[in-house]
């Protein structure tokens, strides 16, 4: 391991330990690491946007390819900065409105297709009691229906409707439980990865 690598990995080790120090109690090392997360993350995404969006979509088309039409969205983007002026902040509404309109216009049909129609289509499968596959299809269809009934708040959850909603919440709880279990496992995997990194670094450093 070269000196540069030792120093850089040492920084990673220091930051890892600083974050873990919160498990004992709040302390300056944790606060330094915590604030560094915010600063470094914001800076990282600023640079990613700069190289993946500003350079290829604004700088190259306007400066190198003379596509001056791209100056228009650039002006719209710059108008957003008027948000900081008390007098001119209303001007920023125009680019924001355009962005919101495009965003919503793109999102509505795509969401309808990907998150409503496709799942509903996948739910409407042949059902029955003659095989496990058909029975599972029945359970999925019933579970989706019951859980959707639970989300329907325009009618009071009493009587038969309340019973169906109750089955719906059981379905949701099983779903949440599975999601929770997977999340815990994901986090534990990350924890193991951090400990492995620390062990490997110390092993390389001290040669044991």
């Amino acid at each position: 391991m070269g000196t540069g690598e030792i120093l850089w990995n040492g920084l990673a080790l220091f930051l890892t330990l600083s974050i873990f120090s919160i498990l004992y109690k709040d302390n300056p090392f944790y606060k330094i690491a915590e604030h560094l997360v915010v600063g470094v993350s914001a800076g990282y995404f600023a640079i990613i946007l700069y190289y993946n969006s500003f350079i290829p979509k604004v700088w190259v088309p306007v400066v190198h390819e003379s596509k001056f039409l791209y100056i228009l969205p650039t002006i719209l983007g710059v108008l957003m900065w008027t948000r900081f002026s008390r007098k001119w902040s209303w001007v920023s509404r125009y680019p924001i409105a355009a962005y919101m309109g495009i965003g919503m216009g793109v999102a509505i049909p795509v969401t309808m297709q990907a998150y409503i129609l496709v799942p509903l289509y996948a739910t409407m499968q042949p059902i029955g009691f003659t095989s496990m596959a058909l029975f599972n299809n029945l359970l999925v269809a019933a579970g989706v229906l019951c859980a959707l009934v639970y989300f329907f708040f325009s009618k009071e959850h009493t009587g038969a409707f309340g019973g169906v909603a109750k089955v719906g919440i059981w379905t949701l709880m099983v779903g949440f439980g599975a999601g929770f279990g997977l999340t815990v496992m994901g986090r534990v995997s990350l924890l193991i990865e951090r400990f492995t990194f620390m062990r490997d670094y110390l092993q390389k450093l001290f040669g044991f």
């Binding site: 957003m80 049909p109 989706v144 859980a147």
Partner: protein
């Protein structure tokens, strides 16, 4: 003028993109693709707004020597260090300072923060599971089965554990996830429609 025109712009932009989805003609697509690129460009400049806001808020705390002012300096230094290294010192490719900062500061900080949640999630789970209702028990038992079934010890305890987990993931979990997805999508669409027709105007700000 200051409120009505933006609402009209939002409505027209939204409506045209909804219509575009239903007109998959080759003469229409490039035109709208251009506008999609425009939206990305506008969003890029909006990020500068976000960065400026971070700087402004933290500068005020530093200037007033408010609570944790010293740590705010670290935040600002971290932010500008990444930006300056990324723009002026060799870009973002392999071997650059930005690359090393990503690998040895950003990445370990992020993954350790998430790893830390393993401890907090365990204590939160313990507190949640003490609520002795049938629903809470159902959640706890499912979580336990899923965790056990995905590690080798689960299979050693009972060899059908992985199959049970597979069934849970493919049947009840799938049903719950689909219902949540459909419910959330309906909510998102209704909110989007409210924005488009001008019923929801909070994005325009005050005055």
């Amino acid at each position: 003028m200051r409120r009505e025109v933006p609402i009209v712009i939002c409505f027209l932009a939204g409506l045209s993109f909804i219509l575009e989805y239903f007109i998959p003609h080759q003469s229409v697509r490039p035109f709208f693709e251009n506008f999609r690129q425009w939206a990305i460009i506008v969003m890029t400049f909006a990020y500068v707004l976000g960065i400026s806001n971070i700087v402004r808020v933290n500068y005020h705390v530093i200037h007033r020597k408010g609570r944790d002012w010293f740590y705010k300096i670290i935040l600002i230094v971290g932010l500008f260090f990444m930006i300056i290294m990324g723009v002026f010192f060799g870009g973002i490719g392999e071997g650059t300072v930005f690359f090393w900062m990503y690998n040895n500061a950003y990445s370990p900080l992020q993954s350790t923060m998430f790893a830390l949640l393993a401890f907090f999630i365990a204590s939160a789970a313990f507190r949640a599971f003490r609520v002795r209702t049938f629903q809470a028990s159902l959640l706890a038992i499912t979580a336990l089965i899923v965790m056990l079934g995905r590690v080798p010890v689960g299979e050693n305890v009972w060899k059908s554990f992985p199959d049970l987990v597979e069934w849970i993931m493919n049947v009840p979990q799938l049903a719950g996830k689909r219902a949540i997805m459909i419910g959330a999508a309906l909510g998102a669409i209704s909110t989007a429609l409210k924005v488009l027709v001008g019923l929801e105007r909070t994005y325009l700000g005050g005055e």
